[in-house]
């Protein structure tokens, strides 16, 4: 298993080196990704310029959700750089190559490209999150630190799982990208705000069926000591790691079934 991880690391490094071949382009796109994402946060600031609370949450508290969501989503997005390209990989028939090598298909697709420019986008989420940590009122206890750590790891894992599961649609239909994006990028936007501002059906679908509530909202209720206007059981605030493992397992299963459905192309 160790040697297999070594192979994936080698494959990933070869992609990173390939991007560094074009240094100026790399630097410009790195800065571009940072600025583009920073503009997004400006939108949140504009909202708070007019109101000081959003459904009972202050600006630093919303920034806590926004920052953790953006930070971990961009991290997942970086790991899944090539997953975005899966519809093209399948349509062009280049997935054939993946299937002829003695390695797992998922690992190969993930290491097929690693775009470090996403670090620019990640930095923005990270800065907002650090700002929030500096401004929210948290009574720090070892438990809260542990929940914070597990929240971030689980958030990244849940996003990764959603990327894999949703992009698996590409094996079934050629028009997969829009559907996949509405749940991946759409899902991230959903976790930037407190869950209770959304309607009940939206909460059920995006919050629990696609368990985005576990990305940051539920553990944040505990960390920030907020009440839950939707009256969910308190235990849910601690279940993010369990949900994350479940999401990864389901995503892996969907992927495996979908790969068997691969049709390749003519010739």
């Amino acid at each position: 298993m160790a040697s297999r991880a070594g192979v994936y690391r080698r494959l990933a490094m070869s992609r990173v080196r390939a991007h560094f071949e074009y240094r100026v382009s790399f630097a410009l796109q790195f800065i571009g990704a940072f600025l583009l994402n920073f503009l997004e946060f400006i939108a949140v600031l504009v909202i708070f310029h007019h109101i000081s609370f959003l459904a009972g949450w202050s600006l630093p508290e919303v920034a806590f959700l926004y920052g953790s969501s953006a930070f971990m989503f961009k991290f997942a997005d970086m790991l899944m750089t090539n997953m975005d390209r899966l519809p093209t990989i399948i349509r062009m028939g280049t997935f054939d190559q993946v299937l002829t090598r003695p390695l797992g298909t998922l690992g190969q697709v993930m290491t097929g490209d690693v775009d470090l420019r996403q670090i620019g986008a990640m930095t923005q989420g990270c800065l907002v999150f650090l700002y929030a940590l500096g401004h929210v009122h948290i009574e720090w206890t070892p438990e809260r630190v542990a929940v914070l750590g597990s929240m971030l790891v689980s958030a990244a894992a849940i996003f990764c799982g959603i990327f894999v599961a949703m992009n698996s649609i590409a094996f079934w239909t050629t028009d997969a990208r829009e559907v996949a994006n509405s749940f991946t990028y759409g899902g991230q936007a959903f976790t930037e705000y407190p869950l209770h501002i959304f309607g009940v059906w939206m909460r059920r679908l995006m919050g629990y069926l696609i368990p985005l509530a576990f990305v940051n909202y539920l553990p944040s209720l505990y960390i920030l000591g907020k009440g839950d206007p939707t009256h969910t059981p308190v235990i849910l605030r601690f279940l993010s790691p369990v949900v994350a493992v479940a999401v990864l397992a389901v995503a892996g299963a969907i992927w495996r079934v979908s790969v068997r459905h691969y049709r390749s192309t003519g010739s």
Partner: protein, 327 residues
Amino acid sequence: MNAPGGFGGAPRVVELRDIRKTFNVYRRRGRIRRERSQVDAVAGISFTIERGEMVGYVGPNGAGKSTTVKMLTGILVPSSGFVRVLDFEPTRQRVDLARRIGVVFGQRTQLWWDLPLRDSFELLRHIYRIPPDVYDRNLAEFGEVLDLEPFIDTPVRQLSLGQRMRGDLAAALLHAPEILFLDEPTIGLDVVAKARIREFLARINQERRTTILLTTHDMDDIERLCKRMLVIDHGRVIYDGDLATVKARYGADSVLVVDLEEPAPPIEVDGATVERVDGPRQWLRFRREQMSAAALIAAVAAKASVRDLAISDPDIEDVVRRIYGSA
């Protein structure tokens, strides 16, 4: 079938029994409604290949050649039927099988576009966990035979098609696979590059006893490389046998082209038929086993004065055309 006593393993390395692959095809009907129909890309194919064989797999576009190769290499899941390659079920045991076979698709490279050939080989060494001695030996041998040295440090995207194909072949063989699947390996190459690749394949097949299945449009590939030919059309095998037999059975006709001193009506000779007349030139079709070329020429010369002549023997493309025609 006479098994040639396998080298370290069952003599039968590929076995297909009644394999089918059906694709759903959607056709638009009106704005939203779509009509689903099913197309058999492969409609019940059976054959076996024994260790050390070099088999040519021939058929027109869309006949199901690539689909068959993809089912043998674990890329496509068959709709029904039985497949075993080296005793593995290709899609279920894909990773184990991948270690022991090599695959080359002429239309697209297996290499990394942005890496020099040498770096691609190095990555493959790790992916296939090739022992260092095997790797060094193979790289040295292929480097020499395929003359990779001049461009081994060039990024793959800058290679010519012929160079890239040589690189692809070496890449597919570095891990010393027992079977090599080639899909159109000479497509788009010039005569010199084709000859070099054929020479290399013949050598690998003879010296290493690597079993080779080769799909191609190029009948020269088959004629120069393969003793056995499988012809497929509309998803079915319509001929499976050796090359000499197929020629004798389907197309032993030779053609004598004569240029006469002046235009004449078709020359009547027993055992030959005039196929075409164009001014003073006539084409006479005959079978060598019924009549020698010398006898025919003498007979023609007795009836008209001949200025020039040429004989063309049947090539494999004629033969295949006839097989399609009779199927």
